[in-house]
């Protein structure tokens, strides 16, 4: 129950001023410009765009500055802003095969057509703090550009019929979670939209759990590619397609060993991750979780948290999660008074009726029962998974 509480107006006004002052910091130091954030914090901008579910570097930079670097707050700001804009339509599917590649690596094949291109990556840095403000070296371009055709690494396995094929099929109109509520069971397209918006930390933890044994997972990074992809639309007014600009995307194709089942022969199966900007860690985590969530389709045992779509998809969104967790700090004075009075009554009954020594924990049970129902707000209580009930995690060795 929420009860309007009056008062505190002055305090709120001063709090907003304090926030603005704290955000700005030392006025003698120049304020951050959006171009600096876009240019020098590009990975933060990419994360805010991806989880804010809105590709716009300028708005993401503005959100980061306004949120004083709190990424989840910036993501919230971007999500809130997008609701004020009209929806013009849907783009044609992004053609990542035609990506103008800036980075492309494979963990499964050394020699791939088009080659392995490292691009800007932290992978080969020493990860030591660098105290020198060294001027960045200008990269000398190679004499020849990369080939315009960079075939997908996984297509190499396709020739041997060792990997599952993914073709559009009937290509149904996908569910749009910005328009329709999440319903279970969610199909793969719906799950991917949810994971795209999902919190990187949550997905990373879920992905890690599949590697530690909480799912039947033996993944390889088949291909990771990052680069520019054209955004193509077909406005009704024109009746033909136009490119309206290009965006940077990171795509990860994970491949997983699969022993066969549900009528599918033994082969490699795929998990898919796609992120805005340079978001390799998120793309990899997304691909692992995507694969884990396919357990029912592939008739695999479903016992790990990362395989439970209701668990994963309902808790992946940082905007929803931080809202519900943080609302607890708002006034619950009346709620709490009710709990207090209930507890006092129970304690008094306990003292009256129970002869010493008292039976164990009666008052405690009564209280936790009522709290449980009030907190769940009518939602289905989460089912504890077998994995959380004492199943030993098994270490998976690199295979």
């Amino acid at each position: 129950m929420y009860v309007a509480v009056k008062g505190g107006e002055q305090a709120i006004a001063r709090s907003l001023e304090l926030l603005a002052e704290a955000r700005r910091g030392d006025a003698a130091v120049p304020e951050l410009e959006l171009a600096q954030i876009r240019g020098q914090l590009r990975l933060g901008v990419a994360r805010v765009m991806q989880e804010g579910s809105l590709y716009d570097e300028e708005l993401a930079a503005l959100a980061i500055r306004q949120a004083a670097g709190d990424m989840l707050e910036a993501i919230f700001l971007l999500r809130a802003y997008r609701t004020t804009l009209p929806r013009f339509g849907y783009t044609l599917p992004l053609d990542t095969t035609a990506m103008r590649v800036r980075r492309r690596v494979s963990g499964t094949f050394k020699d791939i057509p088009g080659g392995q291109v490292l691009g800007p990556t932290y992978d080969y840095t020493q990860r030591l703090l660098d105290f020198d403000t060294a001027v960045a070296a200008e990269v000398a371009p190679a004499d020849v550009p990369l080939p315009s055709d960079m075939p997908r690494v996984l297509d190499l396995l396709d020739a041997e019929a060792l990997i599952e094929r993914i073709e559009p099929g009937s290509d149904p109109e996908p569910v749009d979670l910005t328009r329709e509520p999440l319903m279970f069971p969610a199909d793969r397209a719906t799950r991917l939209q949810n994971l795209s918006r999902g919190d990187e930390g949550f997905l990373l933890g879920m992905a890690y759990s599949t590697q530690r044994g909480y799912a039947e997972s033996h993944p390889f990074a088949g291909e990771i590619r990052m680069g520019e992809v054209d955004v193509v639309i077909c406005p009704e007014e024109l009746g033909f397609v136009i490119e309206i600009g290009s965006i940077v995307l990171t795509e990860c194709q994970m491949i997983n060993q699969f022993h066969g089942g549900n009528g599918v022969p033994p082969q490699f199966t795929r998990g898919y991750g796609l992120t805005m900007g340079e978001g390799e860690r998120k793309a990899m985590a997304m691909a692992l979780v995507d694969r884990a969530l396919r357990c029912d389709e592939l008739a695999e045992p479903n016992h790990a948290p990362a395989q439970n779509q209701e668990f994963v998809l309902s808790h992946s969104d940082s905007v929803e999660a931080s809202g519900f967790v943080q609302h607890l700090k708002l006034p619950h004075y009346v709620d709490f008074q009710a709990e207090l009075s209930l507890l006092r009554t129970l304690a008094a009954q306990h003292a009256r009726h129970a002869p010493p020594p008292a039976p164990q924990g009666e008052a405690g049970r009564g209280c936790s029962g009522s709290e449980g129902t009030s907190l769940q707000d009518g939602l289905t209580p989460p089912q504890p998974s077998p994995a959380s009930q004492g199943r030993e995690p098994t270490e998976v060795c690199g295979t």
């Binding site: 929806r87 339509g89 009704e236 007014e237």
Partner: protein, 195 residues
């Protein structure tokens, strides 16, 4: 060559939305729309104002008289998609009420989603809020006692059709009537009083 729409898309649609909200909150009471945008025949400017305000690419609109010019204009300015059949429409524009399909041809929603029902925009000859010949009395939420209004140009059995839908609440159809600059709303909760 081609007509413009709201001169100021954001503010004009916000002002119009406010009036439509008020029309729904105070049913059976006509009120003037604040902005009348250009509209190609057979669409009336008031009906165009409603569609520019409420319809976009996510709403399916059924046009009783799908004239090419009107379709082109609506697609361009509202971005809406057209529904081929009345039962698929989120919004329906009735430009010739005398020959309109029966009300039960439109979506009434289902028990889980009563909102997945059609809203009709009906262009009528006149709206007269007076106890004249052919006037009806209405009551329901948003009406203090009763409202009396005459709506001209509807099919003879229109009110019987609407009364038949009343039993289905919360399912039903919401109606906007426009005449000149006036708009009048009859949400599904508004009852027609007998005699």
């Amino acid at each position: 060559m081609m007509l413009a729409a709201f001169a100021d898309p954001v503010f004009d649609s916000q002002r119009s939305f406010r009036e439509l909200l008020q029309a729904m909150a105070r049913p059976a009471m006509p009120r003037p729309l604040p902005v009348l945008p250009p509209a190609p025949a057979p669409v009336a400017p008031a009906a165009m104002a409603i569609m520019l305000t409420l319809c976009d690419a996510t709403t399916a609109v059924w046009l009783q008289q799908p004239e090419d010019e009107a379709i082109r204009h609506l697609r361009f300015h509202a971005g809406l998609k057209l529904a081929d059949r009345p039962q698929d429409a989120d919004f329906a524009l009735v430009t010739d009420p005398a020959s309109m399909p029966p009300l039960d041809a439109f979506a009434r929603g289902d028990m889980r989603y009563p909102d997945r029902s059609a809203s009709l925009i009906i262009q009528v000859a006149a709206i007269n809020p007076a106890p004249v010949d052919g006037a009806h009395e209405f009551a329901g939420p948003g009406i203090r006692e009763t409202e009396t209004v005459a709506i001209d140009g509807l099919p003879a059995d229109f009110w019987q059709q609407r009364a038949a839908l009343a039993a289905l609440l919360p399912l039903g159809i919401d109606l906007f009537f426009v005449a000149g600059q006036q708009v009048l709303a009859l949400p599904r909760t508004t009852r027609l009083l007998e005699g």
